[in-house]
């Protein structure tokens, strides 16, 4: 079962002084997951200031600056994992550094064979 773990937090915290430590701990987590065959991919994201939104309306492409919705907690990164069940996904979310102050949202993938990562 594949789950996308979406990492949300305030940018001041996520991109603050603990970023280096956070990246080190995350690298260790990725190593552990990979050793267990649970890892597909993961990455932190550049801050929301770098975001671009695209909408196609009536055949016309509208490109705008920024995210679709302004929220206090921004999407800061993700993990894509392959585990047996939700409890295993929760156990991984538990080890993501941002979970200590932000939120990790776990979403099961709707597994459509043609769309799965290969």
């Amino acid at each position: 079962m594949k789950y996308l773990l979406l990492i949300y937090g305030t940018e001041t915290e996520m991109y603050g002084p603990h970023r280096q430590e956070c990246i080190e701990r995350s690298s260790k987590l990725v190593e552990d997951l990979d050793a267990k065959g649970q890892f597909i991919s993961a990455s932190p994201l550049q801050p929301v200031a770098t975001a671009t939104s695209v909408r196609v309306r009536n055949g016309k492409t509208v490109v705008t600056d920024g995210p679709f919705a302004e929220t206090r907690e921004a999407l800061g990164g993700y993990y894509l994992v392959d585990v047996a069940d939700l409890d295993e996904a929760i156990a991984i979310a538990n080890q993501i550094p941002v979970a200590n102050y932000g939120t990790v949202e776990i979403r099961p993938l709707q597994e459509i064979p043609a769309l799965l990562p290969r």
Binding site: M1, A84, D85, L86, D87, I90, A91, I106, P108, Q110
Partner: protein, 415 residues
Amino acid sequence: MAAPVSDEVAAVYRAESRRVLATLIRLLGDFDVAEEALHEAFASAVERWPVDGVPENPRAWLVSAGRFKAIDGMRRRARFDASMGELAERLEADRRADEAKRELAAEGVEDDRLRLIFTCCHPALPPEARLALTLREVCGLTTEEIASAFLSPPPTIAQRIVRAKAKIKSAKIPFKVPSRADLPDRLDGVLHVIYLVFTEGYSASAGDSVTRADLSAEAIRLGRLVLELLPEPEVAGLLALMLLQESRRAARTSAAGDLVLLDEQDRSLWNREQIREGRALVERALSSGRFGPYTLQAAIAAVHAEAPDAASTDWGQIVALYGLLLRAAPSPIIELNRAVAVAMRDGPAAGLELVDDLMTRGELSDYHLAHSARADLLRRLGKTAEARAAYDRALSLARQEPERRFLQRRLNELG
């Protein structure tokens, strides 16, 4: 001879259907498929048992029949849905493997029920769905019964259960007992649900029977199972609480089915064996120093159990324990209980003052027991007109027949 056998099927259904369901969920990996299989298994028991006789181990027979029917149904549907065929073959392979191991599919059913309760109480489900799902799947209550317990319309409950099952399936909430590391956290939610099952059995929320012994027995059994799995003080405390309350069951209702309050109960009817076990569990939990609200409630029940009658109860100790309980788990209902204990220790006027303060805060204004407690204190103070008004209010809120009869009787006694 058909009638006695069908009676037997009905009896087996009552006794075993939830255990069979739990095992079928494990074997088939899907709540809805397992429920359908359960019904087909019983349908085939109704057909076969009068002819072949009741099997030696009805539970194993039902699990095996349900499993077989489910696989058979999937194979038939495989003509329209290829994935159904793959699933059927995978389940059939499991079935043959179990047979080869000569392992009865019905073995380990206690574990299956525990798995089921942990799944139904999973924190990824909304709290109100955990309760509804546990009552439906673990205890076999109907949607209507759950709706009445929750004071919600049946379609709301039905939708809650459907959504919870859909989430279990699509988010793959596992059908297993949590890992040792997760167990303490998951346990709190499970204990809460078990106690609600118990109280539903001890005091059915509507209808003409005060108690549903089977549900309470079910909750006690679940409590024992969890205690065996995780000997934590609060599990012992919860089991003690249920046993001590259960010990009074025979004394709680009169022969006519009327409610008898604690101070008027014939204490010779109390179940000494349950009291002995309950007290031992309370002591065990208290001596750990890591107890919580269930243990404190059990300690209060144990003080009652020790007293030969209401008058010689150690009310001072009960007031003190309610004080501790209020600190551990603040709630207006506990404040109400403490006020009633204060009335027993210091007289009705002291209790009434506390109850009136509590009522002006409004949280208990629709709680029939608050009005009846207040009415009782007013009655004891000789304030007949006010007592009558409070009993009237309680009567308008009470939904259980025996409670309504009790309140009506008190009203009549006021003259």
